[in-house]
């Protein structure tokens, strides 16, 4: 009974939130996401996508995030010619972008409200989903400026290294939690694309 009441409350809240939410607050995981699927944290990443310290020469100050979409890597600059490198999943063709943004907000186990244009593309998606282990945004989210893009966790660790999202950058939950602790709101995020022919 309590369970049922809880469900009613959630659905009501979901409808309310969907109606009131502005597009800039919407969140965008996409194809390959299976809302409700619990993350299989035993999935072992390919060596090149495991978190590691690497040589990385940069003129950006320590603490800056540089995302290389073509490589499927996110670098957190450490100075002294090194960076912590994480494996990521990126936007699929047509959903890739580049530029400079700042982390505007951080959230643990974020709720997910797919934006209207995403619902049009994928009508089967829920209108709202509370944060938790089955949520496609995973354990943490870092919001990029006022855009619909995020750096977030995932419930699909097997999609790291692929291009499936609507433009967000996903890390496995352990990695996104690690990154979350290292970067404050205001952190500079540079997104780089492979050059166009």
């Amino acid at each position: 009974m309590t369970k049922f009441r809880h469900l009613i409350w959630m659905v009501t809240a979901a409808v309310g939130l969907t109606l009131s939410i502005s597009q800039s607050y919407a969140q965008q995981p996409d194809v390959g996401d299976q809302p409700g699927l619990l993350a299989d944290d035993s999935v072992e990443l390919e060596p090149e996508y495991r978190k590691q310290m690497v040589y990385y020469r940069s003129t950006e100050p320590p603490g800056t995030i540089i995302i290389s979409t073509a490589e499927r890597h996110l670098y957190l600059i450490q100075g002294n010619g090194r960076a912590i490198r994480y494996g990521i999943g990126v936007g699929r063709d047509g959903f890739q972008w580049q530029g400079l943004l700042n982390i505007s907000r951080k959230a643990e186990w974020p709720d997910w409200t797919p934006p209207p244009e995403m619902i049009v593309r994928q009508p089967y998606l829920p209108r709202f989903m509370a944060g938790g282990p089955g949520n496609p945004l995973g354990a943490r989210a870092m919001y990029l400026g006022t855009t619909v893009y995020r750096i977030h966790g995932t419930n699909r660790p097997d999609t790291i290294g692929t291009a499936v999202s609507s433009g967000c950058f996903r890390l496995v939950n352990a990695d996104v939690a690690d990154l979350y602790e290292r970067v404050p709101v205001g952190t500079k995020v540079i997104v780089r694309q492979k050059p166009e022919l």
Binding site: M53, V54, Y55, Y56, S68, L197
Partner: protein
Amino acid sequence: MRTFRGGLLIGLAVAVAVAVVAITYERYDTKTLKRTIRRGEVLCGVNTGLPGFSIPDDKGNWTGFDVDFCRAVAAAIFDDPTKAKFIPLDANERFKELQNRKVDILSRNSTWSMSRETSYDLYFPAVAYYDGEGFMTPRSRNIDSALDLNGSKVCVQAETTTQLNLADYFRANNIKYQEMKFAKLEEVIKAYDTGQCDTLTADVSQLYALRLNLGKPGDHVILPDVISKEPLAPVVRERDDDWMLIVKWTLYAMINAEELGITSKNIDEALKSKKPDVMRLVGTEGNYGEELGLTRDWAVRIIRRVGNYGEVYERNVGSGSKLGIPRGLNQLWNAGGIQYAPPIR
């Protein structure tokens, strides 16, 4: 009479001088390209067997980073990467055999240094792979910088520059360590694998190969620090500029292709590009290939048949290989590394 004798002497002196110049001139080979074309294949001096760089399988098919570079030269000339013949050379004989014209090019993990260029009459056209000394430690030590190696027991091969670099670096950074020297590399590995030391030092490319043979490779990390300069480069004979330029620009074409986003998979798309940089590289604008003594589509041949720099790297020593060496120094200059090619224009 006196003038006649004087004239004779001057004439003799001139003749001798001309002969000396002619002999000196002959000492230098300037016809490598002509001979290569007549022969129909490039003769490549390679390592006798180094995983990731040059190694033959049981059918005699060669693979590796150095092997692919030689195939790229063959592709630029013949539009056929199989027109490269591989001649395994050991470290002692490699430079002599190049001088003796037994090979057209050395593509054999050779470190470019000043004395090698000056004392052997050889030329290193460009750096194909930036290697250098690094460190491996057990993952459980939780170390991610060489500067944190204070108090380590370091296994190293004796009587090598590796040992000298180690001493220099630790002294310069005020790090205390205990050195454990062994004559052979196999002994160094064994000592590390059995826990006699908690740090192993060698060239980074070597560390990745050595790690594969440890009991539990996943339990060991290779630190990102590179403490010495080992720029590995192809080698050609001095004073054969036409040939040297082909070798140099083959490598630069591969690096520029990666920077411009041109791969073996999208090369046909690149031929339709309207971007000036891309057009110059693929030969739809300008005529850089013919100025090199090759064809207008020389770079297209390289990229289509062998690939750009990143493709060759990943396939042989990077994420597409067993070694899995991160790009590090060999990443492009605008993506965290130092690989940089002058522009084609």
